[in-house]
């Protein structure tokens, strides 16, 4: 009796699993473009807009006026990092969220998987004022097709506590070199994309490795970056994954030096617990340029297009820039920003294409090295390495 019951259970489970697997295989979203051509003009709003955004990108100060103008109620979900945002955008087959403020290390993954829709930029009059280097950047424009509109960009700065870190550093060596005097109080960004920061440092300090682009690394180059990061891991007090972790860490004195987003610095300065300053070290910096993208299965496409149009506006971008500490992509924002901030506007480099070109902007590492060979390590390999660095 018990034996036959056991077998029946096994049989039932097997059957159900079979059904589950079969149905999940058939429900895989179809490959290829989701929409047939981008709409030419924006239709009436649907009354709602669900966004995935970086924390700080959807503050009431500029979301409220948008809601009043368009009647689109904005619900924003903060993504913790780029990979989290990619996963959020794929929820419910892409129907849960209408749009995302994707950084360059997420955009190409979304485009390649047809998660986001092509956008006809001709419907946005403000697009003409976008910085030339952000008009058709490879992180959101593929084969001449645009997949979104640029929002903010900025560098990953070297932030330090001026009470403790003396003299003022001008090299990333304070966070990478063995026997750094700040060992135990160093912090780093807890994401595979941070490997690029190590690669950028190696590019300057070990030219023999032949690193050209910190996102296009061969196996040997990735090994070297991994080794450097493992050395660093021994000196890290705590990694930060969410920006508030770094704010708390600096405030409590558990972190004194490390990579930071401008917004983190803004909050730490506002807390007034520790004196901090940031710098762009001699080896250069990584950074990010974010794009508002629309899900190819968006439930509220018109509201999303209105949001793109709205966030491209010069006055809105000035507001975001002043709050977030990032630089607008719309050059028409610069006069107001410079006027509002005076001397403090220098660090924004608003409209400065030359400065932007020196930042190694986040992008998805691919097997294709960009020079025809496909010996480079892709993002899956990077994330495996990151677990190796963090877990070992």
């Amino acid at each position: 009796m018990t034996k036959s019951v056991r077998w029946l259970t096994v049989a039932a489970v097997t059957a159900l699993v079979g059904v589950a697997c079969a149905s999940s295989t058939t429900s895989t979203p179809p490959a290829g473009g989701g929409t047939s051509g981008a709409p030419a003009s924006i239709g009436p709003g649907e009354g709602e807009l669900n966004l995935v955004a970086w924390a700080g990108y959807t503050q009431p100060a500029w979301v409220k006026p948008f809601e009043q103008q368009t009647g689109c109620q904005v619900n924003a979900k903060y993504g913790t990092d780029s990979s989290d945002m990619v996963n959020l955008m794929r929820q419910g087959g892409g129907t849960v969220y209408d749009g995302v403020s994707a950084s360059g290390d997420a955009t190409n993954r979304l485009i390649a998987n047809s998660d986001v829709a092509p956008i006809d930029i001709s419907m946005f009059p403000d697009y003409a004022d976008v910085m030339p280097s952000l008009q058709n950047p490879p992180h959101n424009t593929v084969d001449g097709v645009h997949y979104g509109v640029p929002y903010m960009w900025g560098p990953n700065l070297l932030l330090y506590n001026t009470d403790i870190v003396q003299p003022a550093p001008d090299s990333w060596s304070v966070v990478f070199q063995q026997d750094s005097p700040y060992a135990g109080k160093i912090t780093a960004y807890d994401s595979p994309i941070y490997i690029a920061d190590a690669a950028l440092y190696l590019k300057a300090t070990q030219p023999d490795l032949g690193i050209e682009d910190p996102y296009e690394l061969t196996s040997d180059q990735l090994d070297a970056a991994t080794a450097l990061l493992k050395t660093q891991a021994g000196m890290i007090g705590k990694y930060w994954g969410v920006y508030t972790d770094e704010i708390n860490g600096f405030d409590s004195g558990d972190m004194v030096v490390g990579t930071a987003w401008p917004v983190n610095q803004q909050y730490i300065e506002a807390d007034k617990k520790v004196p901090v300053e940031s710098t762009i070290p001699s080896e250069g910096v990584t950074g990010w340029a974010d794009t508002w993208m629309m899900s190819s299965h968006a439930q509220h496409p018109n509201c999303m297009l209105m949001w793109m149009q709205y966030t491209l506006q010069a006055d809105v971008q000035t507001q975001v820039a002043e709050f977030y500490g990032a630089t607008p992509s719309n050059t028409a924002s610069c006069p107001q920003l410079n006027k509002d901030l005076g001397q403090a506007a220098d660090i924004y480099h608003c409209g400065d294409d030359d400065f932007l070109s020196k930042i190694a902007l986040w992008k998805t590492p691919l097997a294709d090295c960009g020079d025809g060979s496909s010996d480079c390590m892709d993002y899956t390999e990077w994330s495996n390495r990151w677990v190796d660095i963090r877990g070992g």
């Binding site: 699993v17 996963n87 004195g253 877990g391």
Partner: protein, 304 residues
């Protein structure tokens, strides 16, 4: 009219019950169906999908899962090396960090838990007993995350732990150390150690202890020969809780510690590489199975 309606209702009910009475198998099936369906749908299918995932792989460009069977992930995680428990270096380090923490937390919680449970079950007055037991379970009324954050603010720089250490002349922060994690885990899981041990100790009949004393055993001998063996099932049950809860935790490590726990490795890989994460989850499950198998040998399950 009313009576006839009631009568007919009565006969329907009676008919159904006599039908079920005659057909034993159907009655049993109806009783068992709801929990069985629940068990199969909620538990077995998710575990089966987890296992299936561990044999799939990921499209490295899009991060989408490709449902083709291979041992690719097992190749990444496992290796023929006895020294690292057949795991690749990284995964071994991560697993060892997790298992050793789980073991140390279990030891401490069993020791503390036993003392508290013994006091409550055998020494305390009825009033003191209920006070102790309420104190033991009261932390469970607060959300787990709140308790973790509370510990974070205790061990953080400029926090109470810092101030205490400074008084003792030690100028170091506990933040992001294994010791801070151990303290947090010990605190978090202590109630789960106390309750089963208390239940086991409470069931030891006073007459056994009196008999032991009458036969000439002194207190220490009675404790070793009578109380402790009878408490073993409770101790093992408590240790299963503390061990597996620590092993599966992935909140405390990023908030209070530094290195990745198995759960964090799984969470981190799950973002970009679900199949590999599933394979790592199989490792975690295997560790728990081994622990359960060892616990079973002590006979703890027969006493449950």
């Amino acid at each position: 009219m009313e009576t006839s309606l009631a009568a007919s209702r009565g006969t329907t009910r009676r008919r159904v019950s006599s039908f079920l009475n005659r057909h034993d198998a159907i009655r049993r099936a109806l009783t068992l169906a709801p929990p069985l369906v629940w068990m199969v749908v909620v538990y077995f299918i998710s575990v089966a999908l987890l296992l299936a995932n561990s044999f799939w792989r990921v499209n490295s460009l899009t991060g989408g899962v490709i449902r083709e069977w291979s041992l690719h992930n097992y190749d990444t995680v496992f290796t023929w090396n006895v020294r690292t428990a057949f795991l690749h270096e990284t995964y071994f380090t991560m697993a060892w960090r997790t298992v050793s923490m789980a073991a140390l937390v279990t030891l401490a919680d069993i020791a503390f838990g036993f003392m508290i449970a013994y006091y409550a079950a055998r020494i305390a007055s009825p009033r003191a007993r209920s006070a102790v037991m309420i104190a033991a379970v009261i932390p469970l009324w607060a959300n787990y995350l709140i308790r973790v954050f509370a510990w974070r603010s205790i061990v953080e720089g400029h926090g109470p732990a810092d101030a205490l250490l400074r008084l003792a002349g030690i100028h170091t922060s506990l933040y992001a150390t294994s010791f801070a994690m151990w303290l947090t885990f010990c605190y978090l899981w202590l109630p789960y150690a106390i309750l089963p041990i208390y239940a086991a100790l409470e069931r030891v009949p006073a007459s056994y202890l009196e008999a032991s004393g009458d036969l000439g055993a002194h207190a220490g001998m009675t404790f070793r020969q009578i109380v402790l063996p009878l408490a073993v099932p409770g101790i093992v049950a408590g240790s299963i809780f503390t061990f597996s809860l620590t092993l599966g935790d992935y909140i405390v490590a990023p908030l209070i510690g530094k290195g990745l726990f198995l759960g964090n490795g799984i969470a981190q890989l799950n973002i970009n590489n679900r199949p590999l994460a599933a394979t790592l989850a199989v490792v975690a499950m295997t560790i728990v199975f081994i622990y359960l198998a060892l616990a079973k040998r002590t006979g703890a399950f027969e006493a449950l």
